[in-house]
C-alpha cells in the first residue's frame, strides 16, 4: 500500500483551501488584515490599493497550490497500489489546512511581522489562537489518517485471507 501520493495531494489541497479561507474571510470579508498591513497602514486609498495587489498575488499562489493539488490527486487515482480512501483524503486536507495556519502564522505573524490576525491590535492573542488552530487541525488530521491506514490494512489483510 502506497499512501504517500494521496497524502501529499490532500495536504497540498488543504494548504490551498486553507489559504483561500484566510484570504477570503480575514483579508476580504472581515478586512482584519491584508498581506502587508503591518507595513502599510490601511488608512488611505493608495495603501489599500497596493495591499489589494499583494493580496491578489497571495491568492494567485494559493490558486496554483490548489491546482497542483488537483493534478496530484488525479495522478494518485491512477496508481494501482494507492488506496482511494475518503477518510485518508479528509485527514490529509485537515493536515494541509493546519500546516497553512501554522507555517503562515509563524512566518508572517511572528517572524517577519508583515501582518497580524487583527492588525489594529498588533501581535495579540488572536495570532496565538491562529497557531493553535493549526496545531489542532494537524493533530485531528493525523488521527484520521492513522485510522484510515489501519482500516485499509485490515481490509487488505481480509481480502488476502479470502484469496
Amino acid at each position: 500500500m502506497n499512501y504517500k501520493p494521496l497524502l501529499a495531494a490532500g495536504t497540498l489541497l488543504g494548504i490551498g483551501l486553507g489559504g483561500f479561507v484566510d484570504g477570503i474571510i480575514f483579508h476580504q470579508v472581515l478586512q482584519l488584515h491584508s498581506m502587508l498591513s503591518a507595513k502599510l497602514p490601511q488608512d488611505n486609498l493608495v495603501n489599500v490599493k497596493v495591499s489589494m495587489v499583494w493580496d491578489g498575488l497571495f491568492h494567485a499562489f494559493t490558486w496554483v497550490a490548489t491546482a497542483v493539488g488537483i493534478r496530484m490527486l488525479w495522478h494518485a487515482g491512477t496508481i494501482s497500489n494507492c488506496p482511494w480512501s475518503g477518510k485518508m483524503m479528509w485527514g490529509a486536507l485537515l493536515i494541509g489546512w493546519g500546516t497553512f495556519n501554522l507555517v503562515e502564522g509563524i512566518i508572517d505573524h511572528h517572524l517577519i511581522n508583515i501582518h497580524h490576525v487583527v492588525e489594529l491590535l498588533g501581535t495579540s492573542i488572536y495570532d496565538y489562537i491562529f497557531l493553535a488552530t493549526g496545531i489542532i487541525l494537524i493533530g485531528v488530521g493525523l488521527m484520521i489518517t492513522r485510522q484510515a491506514k489501519s482500516n485499509q490494512a485490515s481490509v487488505h489483510s481480509l481480502s488476502e485471507l479470502k484469496h
Binding site: I15, K39, L45, V50, V53, F100, I107, D108, I112
Partner: protein, 78 residues
C-alpha cells in the same frame, strides 16, 4: 439610460475610480510608485516564503527526506 451613461462617464473620469495600478491618474501613479518601490523584492520574498516551505513539506511527504537517501547511499555495504 442617460443616467447610466452619465454615471459611467463620471466614474471613468474621476481620479479615484482611475486608481487601478495600470490607470493614468495621480492616484495610480502613487500606487505604482509604492508597488515598484525599493521594497518590492523584499515584499515578494515575504509573500513567497511560506509557499517555498509548503513545497518542501509536500516534497518530503511524497518522496521522504532527501538526507536519509544520501545517508543510506553513503553507508551502503560494499
Amino acid at each position: 439610460m442617460k443616467f447610466f451613461v452619465l454615471l459611467s462617464m463620471l466614474l471613468w473620469f474621476s481620479g479615484e475610480s482611475n486608481g487601478c495600478p495600470l490607470c493614468k491618474s495621480a492616484t495610480a501613479y502613487k500606487i505604482r510608485a509604492s508597488l515598484l518601490g525599493p521594497g518590492m523584492l523584499w515584499n515578494m520574498f515575504y509573500m513567497v516564503l511560506p509557499f517555498i516551505i509548503f513545497a518542501a513539506i509536500i516534497y518530503v511527504t511524497y518522496y521522504g527526506f532527501p538526507v536519509n537517501e544520501l545517508f543510506r547511499q553513503k553507508t551502503k555495504w560494499k
